[in-house]
């Protein structure tokens, strides 16, 4: 790799030069090299996106830029930093004192865990003050600068500075952390998954803010993420990391439209998004290599459809694809032909339209469902009213047999609570849930005794798959006993052999072969995707009629998501179940809903604001909130309108203990008029499409709304 000066730019002025940078950890199993001889230039004032799956070494590369790799890792190679008007410095050779000044004054870093990046017992202000004083900066001017940055990030400096970290929402904390990283006016900002824990809208808004901040503070940004669409929105150049090396590097536009490395192409195809036809989305087969045991030759060859003997023998050098575009592949010229990004024309897979809508009795019927939580009362006073959070407020929804409904919304909007109330896990404070016409929370007197379902039958019919498979499986039980438990409970006529053959069959069915081997493992011996499969089988064993899948794929790596969703869909067909999906990601929602012919429901602050077939929700959303969600969903195409103003008034969600009057979205809605603040719109048909319903005045052509005056920001304060 050293001979050809890979990933070097001749014409541009680099701010950081990396030369053969490696990060090594000594482990019992041998040396583990988590960054392998990366050579890379970072241009002044660019946004460089570094994309890789988890375990590809991207975070280590980020830490290496600050010489901040945690013990016992060691960084080798050469990193040269070229400050604006000062002599260049070699980062890895700095003395301890110099290094302490270099970090944060020249290169600052924003971590993934903004939630935990602040000392919980000190105010945000203290964090700023101690940073300034540690770098012998003038506190007063420094704090003025901090207040300015916070304002630029749409935060109220006085309130934020006097808060403790736990008093801020996740998005606010993340922005406060960005402000903290900029307070010493660094030239480079390294961001390691800065938005991974945030909602789509917040994510997209912060990306937008970064763009502004970058120009204003004259920054170079290194943006590290697993999310290719996200980086497409902000980066000038993208480096794709695979197995601790750079696989491909080039301008964002070229990486997205004409990627040359097979891995990039497969990764693009495996990423759910809103535009590409769902038939073209396919998982990347195989798994990323272990750092101790990287394959000989090209590290991607075991998963690569183009691999031949050359790939097995020789590690490819960076080949120049175009002027500023390189790919570490022997066959980069053949890759576009072998792995087309567009789906093959001929097999237009016919989508089985599901019969939902008016067809038949609903399986589950929610009517005016309300779940209110009382919270501890605020403040130090001894007396006062408790706060009430309406997690779910008046939701009506019918789910039919073989139906799929995906609930989408920001975190804290009540979508999970709604799901749990629907399957009988969270007693509602108002409204009813009816399973085949019978109220599952008690009053079943209106049903004939002969037709009545027992509580056990209802429990069995309504099942759940949790978000985190790791914590929903008992770590002390083998897969066998985890899966046997529901069978023993519900099918006591089965003997041990029957149970075993049933479990083995299902394990094989979901691709966990050899099943004999898997059945005796413990959950921690499985990968995340396999754990989720086991959790899924456990729910399926009961032959349920409805499964609540609460973000079942958000804990999985990007390249595994499509595979998991396909499996979910396939199991649904096999077992004739209905799904109630909960997701915060519109792309995933679209994938599932479109493939199964289901519906997408958009939830905002406990209300169902729009529901309908995916075609309508994605391509012709009627509710302004759905539009905002759509805007916030990163897309895989290079957009010229990247810096467009967001279609929302404010970034932050209103306090759920004190929801806005009228239409709850009016405080953030760019289309809001006076009437929206006064009364909430009823749910009306949104388009000609069956089942498309919207709770917004804008779908009612003859409503007074259209004569009303728009709300301006002064009205909202």
């Amino acid at each position: 790799m050293t001979t050809t000066q890979p990933h070097r730019l001749q014409t541009h002025e680099p701010i950081l030069e990396l030369n053969d940078v490696s990060v090594t950890f000594s482990m019992d199993r041998g040396d583990s090299r988590v960054v392998d001889e990366v050579t890379l230039d970072i241009e002044r004032n660019e946004v460089l996106g570094i994309v890789g799956e988890s375990g590809s070494g991207k975070s280590m590369l980020a830490s290496a830029l600050l010489d901040a790799v945690v013990d016992p890792g060691t960084v080798s190679g050469e990193i040269t930093f070229h400050p604006q008007d000062e002599p260049s410095v070699s980062v890895l050779e700095l003395s301890k004192a110099d290094r302490q000044r270099f970090r944060w004054e020249q290169i600052a870093m924003v971590f993934q865990g903004a939630m935990s990046s602040f000392n919980p017992v000190r105010t945000i202000r203290t964090h700023f003050v101690e940073t300034l004083s540690a770098h012998d900066d003038d506190i007063e001017t420094g704090m003025k600068r901090a207040a300015g940055i916070l304002e630029d990030l749409y935060l109220d400096p006085d309130r934020v500075l006097d808060s403790y970290p736990h008093e801020l929402s996740g998005g606010m904390k993340q922005r406060a952390l960005i402000a903290l990283s900029l307070v010493l006016e660094p030239e480079v900002l390294v961001m390691d998954e800065p938005t991974a824990a945030l909602d789509l809208l917040m994510q997209r808004s912060i990306i937008g803010l970064l763009e502004e901040i970058k120009t204003q503070y004259d920054l170079t940004i290194v943006f590290i993420t697993h999310d290719l669409p996200l980086v497409a929105d902000i980066a000038d150049r993208v480096a794709v990391l695979y197995a601790f090396e750079i696989a491909e590097l080039g301008p964002t536009e070229e990486i997205l439209s004409e990627p040359a490395h097979p891995y990039t192409r497969l990764l693009l195809k495996s990423t759910p998004n809103l535009q590409a036809p769902i038939e073209s989305m396919q998982p990347v087969e195989g798994a990323a290599p272990d750092p101790v045991n990287v394959p000989e030759g090209c590290s991607f060859h075991p998963r690569c459809p183009l691999a031949d003997e050359t790939c097995q023998a020789n590690d490819p050098d960076a080949a120049t694809v175009s002027d500023r575009h390189t790919a570490d592949c022997h066959h980069y010229e053949a890759a576009p032909g072998a792995i087309p990004l567009e789906p093959p024309e001929m097999d237009e897979i016919e989508r089985t339209p599901r019969h939902h809508g008016s067809a038949g009795e609903p399986l589950l019927s929610l009517d005016g469902l309300e779940v209110h939580f009382e919270t501890e009362q605020k403040g130090l006073g001894l007396f006062g009213e408790p706060e009430t959070v309406s997690a779910v407020d008046g939701v009506s929804l019918d789910i039919y047999e073989n139906d799929v409904v995906v609930l989408v919304g920001e975190s804290g909007c009540g979508k999970t609570t709604l799901g749990k109330a629907a399957i009988g896990l969270q007693e509602p404070t108002g409204g009813t849930v009816r399973y085949r016409g019978q109220d599952i929370y008690g009053d079943d007197s209106d049903v004939d005794a002969t037709d009545r379902f027992s509580a056990d039958e209802i429990r069995r019919a309504l099942q759940i798959v949790h978000q985190d498979p790791g914590s929903s499986l008992n770590p002390h039980h083998r897969i066998r006993s985890i899966l046997e438990a529901p069978l023993k409970q519900w099918y006591d006529d089965l003997d041990g052999n029957d149970r075993q053959s049933r479990i083995l069959g299902l394990l094989e069915h979901v691709g966990m072969t050899p099943a004999d081997d898997y059945i005796d493992r413990y959950p921690h011996q499985l990968s995340g995707g396999e754990q989720q499969r086991v959790a899924l089988i456990r729910a399926m064993l009961l032959n349920p009629e409805l499964i609540l899948a609460d973000e079942p794929i958000s804990a999985l790596d990007v390249s595994l998501r499509v595979e998991m969703m396909d499996l979910l869909i396939q199991l649904q067909e096999t077992f004739n179940t209905s799904y109630l999906f909960v997701s915060h990601d519109l792309s995933n929602a679209r994938y599932i809903a479109e493939k199964t012919g289901g519906r997408i429901g958009v939830v905002y602050l406990g209300e169902l604001v729009e529901i309908g077939p995916p075609e309508q929700i994605i391509h012709d959303p009627q509710h302004p909130y759905t539009r905002a969600l759509r805007w916030a969903t990163p897309q895989l195409t290079y957009r010229d309108d990247r810096a467009q103003t967001p279609p929302i008034r404010t970034i932050d969600i209103p306090d759920p203990t004190d929801p806005p009057s009228g239409c709850r979205y009016h405080t953030r809605c760019p289309e809001a008029r006076k009437v929206c603040a006064q009364s909430a719109p009823a749910t009306k048909s949104g388009s000609d499409a069956e089942g498309h319903e919207v709770a917004c005045y804008r779908v009612q052509d003859d409503h007074d709304y259209w004569e009303d005056a728009p709300i301006d920001d002064a009205d909202l304060d």
Binding site: A68, N119, G379, D655
Partner: protein, 334 residues
């Protein structure tokens, strides 16, 4: 909805616990097998007192009148207890409240020293172990802490007594102060008091073993946290990081443990003060049990329970001052 406020709920819980203790001891006196009243009557009658006089004495000392209906007796008992009248000691005939008031400060004196030293030792040793995690110091101190944690304090007390007092004669074998000194603020008396307290305090220090292990775990957790990593990158001084970041956060869980320890120490004082012939509340209680001095026993138990309840109540009320995340002051996203 007043009861939704956690502070009021805690006050309510504390009051309830105290009430329950009072009621239980009221019931115990009447229900215990070989019931105290009967036992006391027999005791007095055997010593040659005539039954009528014995009954009068019992009534006076136990504040129990057997002929009273239970509800009235109960009310009288509650009112007199709340007024500080805990009955009279059988052995001495003194009001129990007075006797406790005299004994309690000595126990508190030894206890507060043990608690303070235990806490400081635990925190310092724990922090050192965490800082050199896996090193020789860590291994050595961990073994020491486990050893300390597994020795019952009274065994250590006996060892100290045997070696330091009897064999080498460095410390007194019992007592609270040097005989012949004038109680008050004068040097001979105070230094004598300190001198006599050293061994009891030392033997209670076994608790620091467990405390230091707890602190070690907490510190290691904090050392691995994201905010510590960010603090290092921000270039904060080692002093700020170790005091304001590591110690501050690692000590939070210790605070509650500290106050819960008060209860343990009171319980321990019963044996400890017997070993050292240290005439505090524990010594007094032990004697009461031996001679079946029921009013004393009841009074002593009551004081201990109430002290523990108050300590835990203080812990609850003050925790939000040292940890902003706790308590009612939370206002997520403003």
């Amino acid at each position: 909805m007043v009861f939704n406020n956690w502070r009021i709920r805690r006050v309510g819980q504390a009051v309830f616990t105290v009430w329950a203790v009072l009621t239980l001891s009221f019931a115990l006196v009447r229900l215990m097998p070989g019931n105290p009243m009967g036992a006391m009557l027999v005791q007095l009658e055997q010593s040659g007192m005539n039954p009528a006089r014995a009954r009068e004495l019992v009534e006076a000392r136990l504040s129990v009148r057997p002929d009273q209906p239970i509800p009235i007796a109960y009310m009288n008992y509650l009112t007199s207890t709340l007024q500080g009248d805990l009955g009279q000691s059988i052995a001495s005939g003194e009001p129990v409240a007075n006797e406790i008031a005299q004994a309690l400060p000595w126990t508190l004196f030894v206890m507060s020293w043990s608690l303070c030293i235990t806490f400081v030792l635990g925190v310092v040793i724990g922090a050192l172990m965490a800082y050199w995690e896996g090193g020789r110091l860590d291994v050595g101190l961990t073994s020491w802490a486990i050893l300390m944690g597994s020795i019952p304090f009274y065994v250590l007390a006996f060892l100290l007594l045997i070696f330091l007092s009897y064999r080498f004669g460095w410390f007194p074998t019992g007592g609270k102060y040097v005989a012949g000194t004038e109680p008050g603020f004068n040097l001979p008396f105070i230094s004598g008091v300190m001198y006599h307290a050293i061994l009891p305090v030392l033997s209670m220090l076994v608790a620091s073993g467990v405390a230091s292990l707890g602190m070690r775990g907490n510190s290691i957790r904090v050392l691995g946290s994201d905010y510590l990593r960010v603090a290092r990158l921000r270039g904060l001084s080692d002093l700020t990081i170790s005091s304001q970041y590591v110690a501050r956060n690692a000590m939070l869980p210790m605070y509650t443990t500290l106050l819960i320890n008060i209860g343990e120490m009171f319980g321990g004082s019963v044996v400890l003060e017997q070993v050292f012939q240290y005439k505090g509340l524990g010594y007094y209680l032990y004697r009461a049990v031996n001679i079946r001095d029921y009013p004393r026993m009841m009074g002593g138990f009551m004081v201990i329970t109430i002290a523990v309840v108050i300590a835990l109540f203080i812990a609850d009320m003050t925790y939000s001052m040292i940890d902003p995340r706790a308590g009612g002051a939370s206002n997520e996203s403003y």
